[in-house]
C-alpha cells in the first residue's frame, strides 16, 4: 500500500486530515442518536435495571440477624457448626435476647430464624420474654427453660440466619437445602417444588408458543393476502381482544369452559356427551393453555403479518412456474422467508408466557400453576421477599439461557418485527 493511499495523508480543503473530519462527523451523529435515546435509557436504568438489581441483591444478602444480635453473631460465625455449643455462645445469645426485647427488634429476628427453623419464632420470642431473669450458667438455664436450646439443629439454624451473605435462598429456589454445618443437600422429598415448577413453566410456555404458532400462522397468511379492506376488518378482530383487559378475557374463558359453561352446554345439547360426564376444561392445565394461547395470540400474529406482508407474491408464483407443487412451494420458498417473523413471534410469546401469573392463578387449578405464581405468593402472602428474589433470579437466568440457545440455533439477527 502506498502512503498516499492511506487516509491519514488525505487532507481536506481546510487543512484538517479527512480521517479526523470523518470521525468528528460520526461522533456528532452518535451523540445525537444517544441524546435521542437518552431519556429512554435513563428511564429504563432508573425504573427497571437498578430496582431489579437491588431486588436480586436481597436474594443473597440478609443482615436482619447480624444487625440486631450483635453479641451472638461473631460467636456463631466462629463456631464450626458441628461441635457442642459452648457456654460462651449461650451467654452471648442471652445478652442479645435481652437487648432485642428491650429494642423491640426481637420480632424481626424471630421471623428471620423461623424461615430456617419452623417454630423458631415462638422459641425466640418466648425465651426473650424471660431472658432477663436467667442467671449463669446460661447453658443450663436456657435448656431448662426450652429444651430446644440443647439441640444442634437450633444452633445450626441460628448460624445460617446470622450470616449476612447467604446462599440459603438461592439453594431453596432450586430445591436444595443449605444447613448450618455448611453442607448443601437435596431438599426433603415432600418439600421439593421449585424444579417441578420451573420445568412446568418451560413446558407450558413452550406448548402455548407452539399453539400460538399453529393458530397464528394461517391467520397472518390470510391477513397478508386479502384485499386491504378485508384485511383491516380482520386486523381489528385480532386487535380487539388485544386491547381488552387480561382479567376480562380470562374470566370470559371461565364462563365458556367451566362444567356448566357455554361449551359443555353445547356438547350436551348436541348429544356429544352425557349431562353427567361434562368435560373439565378449566381450573386445570387445559384452562391455562387455552386462556394463555388466546391472550398471547396477537403477539404471534402481528410480527408474522408484518413479515409476510413484505414477501412478494412473485416468489411463490415463480416456484409454481418452475414445477413445484403447493406444498413444495410453501415449504421451500414461502416458509423460509417467514422465518424472521416466526423467530420474533416465538421469542415474544415464549418470554411473555414464562412471566404470566394472573391467568394461571385464575384458571390454572393445581396443575396449571407456574413459577411466577409462587413468586407472587412469596411477595404478597408469606412476605419472604429474599426467596422471591432468588426465584426471580433463577427464572431470569433460565430465560436468558433459552434466549442464548435460541440465538445459537436460529440467530437473533435473523429476527424481524416487520
Amino acid at each position: 500500500m502506498t502512503p498516499s493511499a492511506s487516509p491519514e495523508s488525505v487532507i481536506a480543503v481546510d487543512g484538517i486530515p479527512l480521517k479526523t473530519k470523518l470521525a468528528r462527523a460520526l461522533m456528532v451523529r452518535r451523540l445525537r442518536a444517544l441524546g435521542l435515546t437518552m431519556p429512554l435509557l435513563a428511564f429504563l436504568f432508573a425504573a427497571f435495571i437498578i430496582p431489579v438489581l437491588v431486588f436480586l441483591w436481597q436474594g443473597v444478602h440478609d443482615d436482619t440477624y447480624a444487625r440486631y444480635m450483635s453479641h451472638s453473631t461473631p460467636v456463631l460465625e466462629a463456631w464450626d457448626g458441628a461441635s457442642e455449643p459452648t457456654e460462651a455462645m449461650y451467654e452471648a445469645l442471652q445478652k442479645d435476647l435481652v437487648q432485642a426485647r428491650k429494642d423491640k427488634t426481637i420480632g424481626k429476628v424471630a421471623t428471620r430464624v423461623n424461615r430456617e427453623l419452623p417454630g423458631g419464632r415462638s422459641l425466640l420470642t418466648s425465651t426473650a420474654r424471660r431472658a432477663a431473669r436467667l442467671e449463669a450458667p446460661y447453658k443450663k438455664a436456657l435448656i431448662d427453660l426450652k429444651p430446644a436450646w440443647g439441640r444442634l439443629e437450633t444452633w445450626q439454624a441460628l448460624r445460617v440466619a446470622a450470616a449476612r451473605y447467604t446462599p440459603t435462598y438461592l439453594a431453596t429456589s432450586v430445591d436444595l437445602k443449605y444447613s448450618g454445618d455448611g453442607s448443601i443437600r437435596r431438599q426433603d422429598e415432600k418439600r421439593r417444588i421449585h424444579l417441578t415448577l420451573f420445568w412446568r413453566t418451560v413446558e407450558i410456555s413452550a406448548l402455548v408458543t407452539i399453539f400460538c404458532l399453529l393458530l397464528g400462522y394461517p391467520v397472518a397468511y390470510l391477513l397478508s393476502n386479502l384485499p386491504q379492506r378485508s384485511t383491516n376488518l380482520l386486523l381489528i378482530l385480532v386487535l380487539l381482544p388485544f386491547w381488552t383487559s387480561i382479567l376480562v378475557r380470562t374470566t370470559a374463558w371461565i364462563a365458556i369452559l367451566q362444567g356448566n359453561g357455554v361449551l359443555n352446554d353445547l356438547f350436551v345439547a348436541f348429544g356429544v356427551i352425557g349431562d353427567d360426564s361434562r368435560f373439565s376444561m378449566v381450573y386445570n392445565r387445559t384452562g391455562t393453555l387455552v386462556a394463555m394461547t388466546h391472550i398471547l395470540l396477537p403477539f404471534m400474529i402481528l410480527p408474522l403479518y408484518a413479515v409476510m406482508r413484505t414477501i412478494p407474491k412473485a416468489y411463490v408464483q415463480a416456484a409454481h412456474s418452475l414445477g413445484a407443487n403447493g406444498w413444495v412451494a410453501f415449504w421451500r420458498v414461502y416458509l423460509p422467508q417467514t422465518l424472521p417473523g416466526i423467530g420474533a413471534g416465538v421469542v415474544l410469546v415464549f418470554i411473555l408466557a414464562t412471566g404470566y401469573y394472573i391467568t394461571p392463578a385464575l384458571v390454572g387449578g393445581q396443575d396449571g400453576q407456574m413459577i411466577s405464581n409462587l413468586i407472587d405468593f412469596h411477595m404478597r402472602r408469606s412476605l419472604n421477599w429474599p426467596l422471591a428474589a432468588a426465584m426471580g433470579f433463577v427464572l431470569l437466568v433460565l430465560v436468558m439461557f433459552l434466549y442464548w440457545l435460541y440465538d445459537r440455533v436460529s440467530g437473533i439477527d435473523r429476527m424481524r418485527l416487520g
Binding site: D63, I106, G107, T111, R121, T196, N260, L383
Partner: protein
C-alpha cells in the same frame, strides 16, 4: 458502624424506589381524611353502615374506604417507603401478629376501649386473645363448608362427609391455603377438635392431615378470593365448598340460593383492627377503633352480615337483619351455641410459627402428581 451503614444502603435504595412508586400512585387523600382498609364486598358494606357513617357524622372527618385482599405486602411497602397512606386496616390475626413482630404496625393501648354499657371493663368483655399489643379484635368469622341442597339430598352432615368421595361424589371447593384445610382434615380423621393444634405441631400429625387431603385431592377445585367460593357453588362447578359463613348466608338467605351450611368442625377466626406504623392520622385511627369497639355499634354491624361481634355484651344485642325484621340473625352466627358444638378455634400463635413451613409443604403437595 460504617459497615452496617454500607450493608443497609441497598435496602435504603429499594425503599427509595418504593417511595417514588408510592408517590406516583398516591391517591388524593386530604389531611384529616381517615383511610380504612378492609376486605370489600358486603363485609365492607356492613362496616360502612355500622362504623364509617356514624363516625363521620360524629367527628366531621371523612372516611376513605379501600379494599385489599389480605396479607402484609402493601403495608410493608408503605412502611419501607416511608409513605404511609393507610390508617386503619382490618387484618387477619396471624398476619397482624407477624406485622407487629416486624414493626409494621402501631401498638394500641387497650385503655382506649370503651367499657360495656353495664360497666364491665373492656378487658373482661373481650374473649381471651382478642386484644394483643398491635391489634384489637372486632369480629368472629368462620370457615365452614356448605353444599347445594338441590344437588345433594340428603346432604352431608359432618366434616367426614366432606372428605368422603364414595358417600358424596363430586368436586369440592377449598381455599388454596393450609389454614383451616389441615384442621378440618384432622378432625375428619378422628382427632378431637380441641386437640387439633397439638397434633398438627408434630410431623406425624401433618402427615396424617395431608394423607386425609390426598383422599379428595383429585376432586378439589381451589379458590383464593372469597367471592369465588360462592361462585363455584352457584355455577354448579362443585357440589360443596369451604367458604366463609357470611358469604353463604348472603347467598342463601338474601339471594335465595339453595345452600346449606354444615357447622361441624367450623374454624373460628377473629378479625382485627390494626394501625399501620406511621399512619398519617394515628389519633383519628385510635378514635375510630374505639368507636367501632362500642358494643352497640358492633351489634349494628351484626344486622348487616352474619359475622358475630367479638364482645360478649355485643353478642347479646344481636337482633334481626336490617332489611327483614323476620330474619333472626342469631342462629346464623358462628357463635350461636348450636353451631359451636365441634368448633375449632384458630390458634394464631400456631399459625404464626408454622405458616411458612406448612405453606411450603402445602404448595409442594399441590404441585406433586
Amino acid at each position: 458502624m460504617s459497615e452496617v451503614a454500607r450493608a443497609r444502603s441497598p435496602k435504603r435504595l429499594f425503599a427509595l424506589f418504593l417511595a417514588a412508586a408510592a408517590w406516583l400512585a398516591a391517591p388524593g387523600a386530604v389531611a384529616g381524611d381517615l383511610t380504612v382498609v378492609s376486605w370489600g364486598g358486603p363485609y365492607t358494606q356492613s362496616q360502612v353502615e355500622a362504623y364509617h357513617k356514624p363516625w363521620m357524622a360524629r367527628t366531621g372527618h371523612r372516611v376513605l374506604s379501600e379494599d385489599y385482599s389480605g396479607g402484609l405486602s402493601e403495608i410493608k411497602s408503605q412502611v419501607l417507603a416511608g409513605n404511609v397512606t393507610w390508617d386503619v386496616v382490618d387484618i387477619e390475626a396471624a398476619e397482624g401478629l407477624l406485622g407487629c413482630d416486624e414493626g409494621l404496625l402501631e401498638e394500641i393501648d387497650p385503655s382506649i376501649l370503651p367499657p360495656a354499657p353495664d360497666g364491665t371493663p373492656a378487658e373482661q368483655d373481650f374473649p381471651e386473645g382478642a386484644i394483643s399489643p398491635c391489634m384489637i379484635g372486632h369480629i368472629v368469622a368462620s370457615m365452614v363448608f356448605a353444599y347445594d341442597r338441590d344437588r345433594l339430598s340428603p346432604g352431608p352432615a359432618t366434616i367426614r362427609d366432606f372428605f368422603d368421595l364414595e358417600k358424596f361424589p363430586g368436586r369440592r371447593g377449598m381455599r388454596r391455603s393450609p389454614k383451616a384445610a389441615l384442621e378440618m382434615a384432622l378432625v375428619a380423621d378422628g382427632v378431637p377438635p380441641g386437640r387439633v393444634y397439638e397434633v398438627l405441631a408434630t410431623p406425624e400429625g401433618v402427615d396424617r392431615a395431608f394423607a386425609r387431603l390426598d383422599g379428595i385431592k383429585e376432586q378439589v377445585v381451589w379458590w383464593e378470593a372469597s367471592s369465588h367460593s360462592t361462585q363455584l357453588l352457584a355455577d354448579g362447578e362443585v357440589v360443596m365448598s369451604m367458604a366463609y359463613n357470611g358469604r353463604i348466608f348472603d347467598a342463601s338467605e338474601l339471594e335465595g340460593r339453595s345452600l346449606t351450611i354444615v357447622w361441624d368442625a367450623q374454624v373460628l377466626e377473629i378479625g382485627h383492627w390494626a394501625i399501620v406504623k406511621g399512619a398519617p392520622n394515628r389519633d383519628l385511627a385510635l378514635d375510630f377503633i374505639a368507636f367501632a369497639s362500642k358494643p352497640e355499634n358492633m351489634a349494628v354491624q351484626a344486622s348487616w352480615i352474619s359475622y358475630a361481634p367479638v364482645r360478649h355484651t355485643a353478642s347479646e344485642m344481636i337482633g334481626s337483619h336490617h332489611s327483614n325484621p323476620e330474619l333472626d340473625m342469631r342462629p346464623h352466627m358462628p357463635t350461636w351455641p348450636d353451631n359451636l358444638k365441634t368448633v375449632i378455634r384458630q390458634d394464631v400463635e400456631f399459625w404464626a410459627d408454622y405458616l411458612d413451613e406448612l405453606n411450603e409443604r402445602f404448595n409442594a403437595w399441590l404441585v406433586e402428581g
